[in-house]
């Protein structure tokens, strides 16, 4: 059982790291502000979420698990909000987006 959980956690961590790297590449390579934000927003939520889930699988039933769940909830709430704020600011003053 512990090997299965360990393997799942490793897969989650690797996928999360991959998503973060993809996000970083996307921020540099995409042509316009909105596409960059798309890369940053979506893959960032996915990346940090996956990494946190992987860490949760590692931690076992502990207070650490509870803290990680809280952090995951916090990121799940905040990072879409941040993306929304950025997009909103970009649409309201278009000059800054260029």
């Amino acid at each position: 059982m512990s090997e299965v959980i360990n393997g799942l956690s490793v897969i989650c961590l690797l996928l999360g790291g991959l998503a973060s790297i993809i996000a970083a590449i996307g921020i540099f390579r995409f042509p316009s502000f909105y596409t960059r934000m798309h890369a940053a927003g979506i893959t960032d939520t996915l990346g940090s979420g996956l990494i946190l889930i992987g860490l949760m699988l590692q931690s076992g039933w502990d207070t650490t698990l509870a803290k990680l769940v809280l952090i995951l909830l916090f990121t799940l709430i905040t990072s879409p909000t941040i993306s929304y704020t950025l997009a909103n600011a970009a649409t309201t003053n278009k000059d800054a987006a260029k």
Binding site: F74, I77, T78, T81, Y84, T85, N88
Partner: protein, 323 residues
Amino acid sequence: MCFLLLTAFAITRAHDLLATVMLLSIYSLLCASFFVVMDAVDVAFTEAAVGAVVSTLLLLSTLSLTGRFEKPQREKPLFGLIIVLTTGALLIYGTLQMPPFGSAAAPIHQHVGSYYINQSYAETGIVNLVTSVLASYRGYDTFGELVVIFTAGVGVLALLSSQKSYPIAPIDKTILPAPMKQHHILRVVSKMLIPLILLFALYVQFHGHTGPGGGFQAGVIFASAIVLYTMIFGLQAALDVISVAWLKLFSAFGVLIYSSVGLLSLLSGENFLDYSVLAQAPIEAQHLGTLAVEMGIGITVASTIMLIFFSFSGQMHSIGEAQ
């Protein structure tokens, strides 16, 4: 380390002050992770809360008062460069004599450091070594720091409220609509988050005995929740919750708590800030004393930061009305 150097270089090169502020924030965050690597979790926590959050906020509100771009500089500051290079070279020369990094035989670990590490838990019963040193052994130093923060708040108030347009008097709500009124998502999300942030601040405040945390960090987190509220719902709404007069009172009240703990022990015939008079058992007394002192720190830090932010945004409002 490499990232730290890169960011520092980028800060000096950037002419857009907004970018500079953001880079400074990144720099603080990198510093914080550097401290985590060095196992100084409390310092990292403080650095993340103060350096990356609050000072960024204060710098941003300063920028909205002053303007975003640096003035173009014509002359090359060669003289300054020479001074900086010489000082840097001297400092690096000084580090050559220092013991190797992390060595346990370094002089700094020989004197009181080992005493704290060996005796702190037995004497104070506080699990977190940093808290016991901060609030108990070095209580006098921490008292000085608290007074410094209080003085800084008083200084900012004296500077910023010298103009008569400082809006302590209630602002006409029809002229100033709350900012972000059209952003429903932001309002809902911040309504969800603010209670959680406040709760987390209290957790950090009272968890300082057993984990990283304490009054300074808790105060900063508490204040940042209120600052978030101010940014989303407007200055007037925040002033309705906590008025400037109360904040002034509270920032003095925290210092008062700290110093009255000290005076209490002084009046009972012990040394200043000797907690042993607070209870019968010495460990219980240490707990009580640390708790009271941390409360004082938290109250003063939170209300001073809120005061500074309120006076900045009050300035912004008065400028906006003038235009």
